[in-house]
Symmetry: C2
Subunit: 179 residues, 2 copies
């Protein structure tokens, strides 16, 4: 690392968080360093967990992480309008529309116009889709459980509660949702 890069030795994806907070703290006095560390940490940890789940469970199962999210919602809440799937999975209608193209092509979901409203498209799992998501969810849960063992039961509950508190704040209320 001596020639060319000028990056502090040993700086990695994870250690960059401390480095970033320290660098900004030195250069900009009015920055909220706690908030900065919180968002950097939150995003980086989540990103890592999701990449792990997607690469070790979901892609081998034949779908992507976003695909899993839609299948999961349909599995638990049953056939529904596409706009509802979008809401429950936290995606836009356009994203669901595109995703369902793939899932439908792969025989995992059904898609049809509603008879009570000609605008609405209803989607649901096929038999194959249900079988696949059940197996996929078991593998997914096994892996997420492995992640969760890094924390005690009480720590898990605390973490969930704190994240929930973030969702109860005014910023969450102001945050726009996808259309």
């Amino acid at each position: 690392m001596s020639h060319g890069t000028d990056i502090p030795d040993g700086l990695t994806f994870w250690s960059f968080v401390d480095y970033a907070v320290e660098r900004v703290g030195r250069a900009m006095p009015s920055v909220d360093l706690d908030a900065m560390r919180l968002v950097l940490t939150l995003h980086r940890v989540t990103s890592m967990v999701v990449y792990d789940l997607e690469s070790s469970v979901h892609r081998p199962s034949g779908w992507t992480w976003p695909g899993f999210r839609v299948l999961f919602v349909l599995w638990l809440a049953g056939p529904m309008e596409a706009k509802t799937a979008a809401e429950l999975s936290g995606m836009s209608r356009a994203a669901v529309s595109s995703l369902v193209n793939t899932l439908h092509r792969d025989g995992l979901v059904t898609r049809e116009r509603a008879d009570y409203d000609r605008r609405a498209v209803r989607i649901g799992l096929t038999g194959a889709g249900r079988d696949a998501i059940e197996r996929g969810f078991v593998a997914h849960n096994r892996r997420e459980s492995a992640w969760a063992t890094a924390l005690t039961g009480e720590e898990r509950a605390t973490l969930v509660a704190l994240l929930g508190k973030l969702m109860e704040g005014s910023s969450a209320a102001e945050a726009k949702r996808r259309s």
Copy 2:
């Protein structure tokens, strides 16, 4: 909601978490419900925070969230090889390569072959890029600070510590990284 959708009344993106845990808990006895709730919560909160930051700050600034992440790394750690930017921002080399196409086109980053290793591409901020990221970061921090006010100082520290503990577990050690 009476015709056709059969979804429990009032189910939303956020309330779906409790619903999902309850549904799976009833149907599959061997599932780790705590882990399930943890990952669902983690991903949904993070997703919401990031979408808010991207739509309210970053896109109006002329770049995307991933673009911001690369600009941020270059800003704090200076010019570097593309592979280093990939590591520090948690992306693959291919993703950085593609992203830098856009940022370079927009005059925010420089890109050149290293003279000490003909394989390596070095990237750095342009003057315009540095000006832009400084303003962008201020707006970003203001917004992330707004999010963080939902928690007390101690809660923030606890949250960061617990997330950090997730990163110290064996699953994180086993998790593959992007190439």
